[in-house]
């Protein structure tokens, strides 16, 4: 499984209120949420984003609220992967649970600029800046989480593996 696209590069502590402002949380419709994605941080994001593009951000991405609307808006906007130096824990959980691929790799974040062409090979955990040719290895997920991702999310994993 591979993702490739243009990088949207942001700073540290990108919070869930700027990813999807609460004034839009009176709906759970994914497309409507996606139409306001990143609005208070980067009003041009929604106009520019194309299917497969990648968000690259510094530490503590997704801090703040537990709203699953945040990873859902990002995924539905067309983003194929979020690469960050670190993730806030609820966002990390939510992204895995809904099947939005995420990668923690500080070195890659430092080596990627806004608009660079970036590719990610998920199984190997390899991130490549196709614009500069630089390449990095990210920490792979623990086996438990890999199983969940290959089952296509938490609900399916639980149905298959354990509880029902």
């Amino acid at each position: 499984m591979k993702a490739q696209g243009k990088a949207f590069r942001y700073g540290e502590n990108v919070d869930t209120d700027v990813i999807i402002p609460a004034r839009y949380l009176n709906t759970s419709d994914a497309k409507e949420l996606a139409s306001h994605c990143m609005e208070d941080l980067d009003a041009t994001f929604v106009k520019k984003v194309q299917l497969g593009d990648i968000i690259v951000a510094e530490r503590n991405f997704g801090c703040g609220s537990s709203r699953e609307h945040a990873p859902l808006a990002i995924k539905t906007a067309g983003i194929s992967c979020v690469i960050a130096s670190s993730f806030a824990r609820i966002f990390y959980r939510n992204a895995i649970n809904i099947g939005l691929p995420i990668m923690e790799c500080e070195a890659a974040v430092a080596g990627i600029k806004m608009g660079d062409n970036v590719s990610v090979e998920f199984t190997k955990g390899v991130i490549t800046n196709e614009t500069t040719g630089e390449r990095w290895s990210a920490e792979p997920f623990p086996p438990f989480i890999q199983k969940m991702i290959s089952a296509d999310g938490l609900i399916q994993y639980l149905q298959q593996e354990v509880l029902l």
């Binding site: 703040g64 824990r89 623990p142 938490l154 609900i155």
Partner: protein, 421 residues
């Protein structure tokens, strides 16, 4: 191997003798919480299981508190979906408008939280219940859906930071100032993935409302949970609210902490978090002249009776500055009634403040107190991110009820010590 208090609660709920940091476990839950924003997404996910019943109708709490009383048609639709699910699945703890309060004040008050419980909620401030010696943490809607179906959730066992408290808080300094001080010290990701365990002889002087406030904002340091040991103060609260016998877990004496912070409560000052992060803190002495347009006193962080008493003490017999819109929202109906009985609501109204029904509304820029472009608010809430209370070019300054009330009187961020009684 020794364990922290948080680790012991997780081990007990995973039916194992021992857990270690980093270990992935599947654990049994005592309570699953959702609100009117997160539940609709969870209900859609729950439907994917293709099962009729929830795991236990008495262990789920659904609280329509965010955009209620319904702020618009879309919010009304979301609340309707949640209400119909609650009736259809025979959820015992569904709180309709009239019984509803802000979830993290309501659940302990209604006796749904016990010491030793393992609780998840689809709301990031679910970590509040650590004040009563429970392990509680925020999750997303899919986790909530899975938990409603199975009664279980997966956890990565956290390591912990220890906050060793000594001394006593000075007058006008509260639990809010302590937690803002801590977040300022360690940063908004200073406790990322970790437990924050509060201990030391200073704990005894913190009332239960201060402890709720402190645990409530553990998430603002990135923590998985915040937790206090179970002492007489916690037992007294539980005895008055929860019918179950408290299950007391204690950290081992040689429990391992990644780091221990020693804090003398007597040295703390009223503290304010400037825009746009909760770790951007300054003591009241370093604030300078900041003109404000609105004051919000309430929320899951500071809408409890002690908070209202402090605000009323400052506002009694005075008038808020005519340029400051002052909004007070008691967190639950019980707190509202108590504030009425104690004459606090009259003090607020006579001072020129408005008193709202319980709602999360203004804290997250939902309704009941939205800021326009360029406006500033002092709020006793928990987040001051860009656009949190309204326009992306508005600003929120986080503070205690004492600082908020003092600021309402002067129109500037003010030191409660400077207000004459």
């Amino acid at each position: 191997m020794s364990m922290t208090m948080s680790q012991k609660i997780l081990a007990a709920h995973a039916n194992v003798d021992q857990v270690r940091p980093g270990q992935l476990i599947m654990a049994d839950l005592d309570l699953v919480l959702g609100n009117d924003i997160t539940s609709p997404v969870a209900i859609k996910e729950f439907a994917k299981f293709g099962i009729d019943a929830v795991f236990d109708t008495s262990k789920i709490a659904l609280v329509p508190d965010h955009f209620t009383p319904n702020k618009d048609i879309k919010a009304a639709q979301q609340c309707k979906m949640m209400r119909e699910f609650a009736y259809d699945k025979k959820i015992e703890h569904y709180f309709e408008i009239g019984q509803m309060g802000i979830e993290h004040a309501l659940l302990p008050e209604q006796g749904l939280v016990n010491a030793g419980d393992l609780i998840i909620g689809a709301d990031s401030h679910t970590c509040t219940y650590g004040a009563l010696g429970a392990f509680s943490t925020g999750v997303g809607s899919t986790d909530m859906a899975a938990a409603m179906a199975t009664g279980k959730a997966w956890f990565k066992v956290p390591s912990a930071l220890c906050f060793n408290l000594t001394g006593k808080l000075p007058p006008w300094v509260s639990g809010k100032d302590l937690i803002l001080h801590i977040i300022g010290m360690i940063g908004v990701d200073g406790a990322l993935y970790k437990s924050m365990e509060f201990t030391g002889e200073g704990v005894a002087s913190l009332n239960i409302d201060d402890r709720f406030t402190i645990c409530n904002m553990a998430i603002e340091a990135g923590a998985k949970n915040g937790i206090f040991g179970v002492d007489g103060v916690a037992i007294a609260y539980l005895g008055a609210h929860c019918k179950r016998t408290p299950l007391v877990f204690q950290a081992d004496e040689d429990a391992e902490y990644e780091r221990t912070y020693d804090i003398d409560l007597a040295t703390l000052r009223p503290t304010v978090a400037f825009p746009h992060l909760p770790d951007n803190t300054r003591t009241i002495d370093e604030v300078g002249q900041i003109k404000i347009d609105q004051v919000v006193i309430g929320s899951c962080t500071n809408g409890r009776i002690s908070d209202l008493r402090i605000a009323a003490k400052i506002l009694k017999g005075k008038k808020v500055n005519p340029t400051v819109r002052t909004i007070v929202f008691p967190a639950t109906q019980e707190i509202y009634l108590q504030a009425m009985d104690e004459g606090l609501l009259k003090i607020f109204v006579q001072a020129g403040a408005v008193v709202s029904t319980p709602t999360c509304g203004p804290c997250l820029g939902g309704h009941m107190g939205i800021l326009a472009e360029g406006e500033r608010a002092v709020a006793t809430t928990n987040r001051n991110f860009v656009g949190r209370m309204g326009h992306p070019q508005s600003e929120v300054y986080l503070a205690s009820p004492a600082v908020a009330a003092a600021s309402a009187l002067t129109g500037y961020i003010s030191n409660p010590e400077s207000i004459e009684e």
